[in-house]
């Protein structure tokens, strides 16, 4: 399954407003080059590239080289995980349980 190959958690990837905006922008077009995306943000191309890299690691963005430019497009399928509240809360409680375990261990000391 493709989910298992993701280097980065999709929930982390969409936790940032810039990255959510990038997803929306990419949803509007088949493909967009970096300079077109960068023009939409009050930040430089390096910063936008870093966000795109995170989205790519989460499997949300695909890229390809066309001549000297890199073009990006959306791969929405990992978002199904987010759409599903069961998956959302599963992640939420599992993360919280690590903190609970830590709290209980501190009490034992």
């Amino acid at each position: 399954m493709s989910e298992n190959n993701q280097m980065r958690d999709v929930f982390d990837a969409i936790a940032d407003p810039t990255r959510r905006r990038l997803i929306r922008l990419l949803a509007e077009a088949e493909e967009k080059p970096l300079h077109e995306l960068t023009a939409q943000f009050p930040m430089g191309r390096t910063a936008v590239s870093k966000h795109l890299k995170i989205l790519k690691e989460a499997g949300l963005v695909l890229d390809r080289k066309v001549g000297r430019e890199t073009r990006f497009r959306l791969n929405a399928s990992p978002l199904r995980e987010v759409q599903d509240w069961v998956a959302f809360y599963s992640k939420f409680w599992r993360t919280n349980m690590l903190r609970l375990n830590q709290l209980l261990e501190e009490e034992e000391e």
Partner: protein, 132 residues
Amino acid sequence: MSLTLSLDFQFTTSIEKLWSALTDSSKLAKWVMENDFKPVVGHRFQFRTQPFNGWDGIIDGEVLIVDAPNRLSYTWASAGEKHTVTWTLQDLGNGKVNLHLEQTGFSNAQGLEGAKYGWGKWCGELEKLLEQ
């Protein structure tokens, strides 16, 4: 459609300590969120976190069941969806305790329409994206 999330966790602790972590407001703040929780049936409480992308960061709940130290249940309403969270604690002996979580609610088809904020709104946009 009704949906249930069911998870089990095991801790090396006493059932009393685990119960306290689930019901004591200051302890809940350390592993869930800031809150005004009290283990009293009928008590209405809030969990609060930083507002996030239009979501107010508030979860409203009402305590339904307090059966110390074995069972605790409350409602959990946020971003247009209402769920029920139920914790069941079981002493396994040898200093181990099993914590069972059940969260039940409805599939987001209904929640999405009523949702005004945050995850609900975001999920609504996702729904459109995924339909493309």
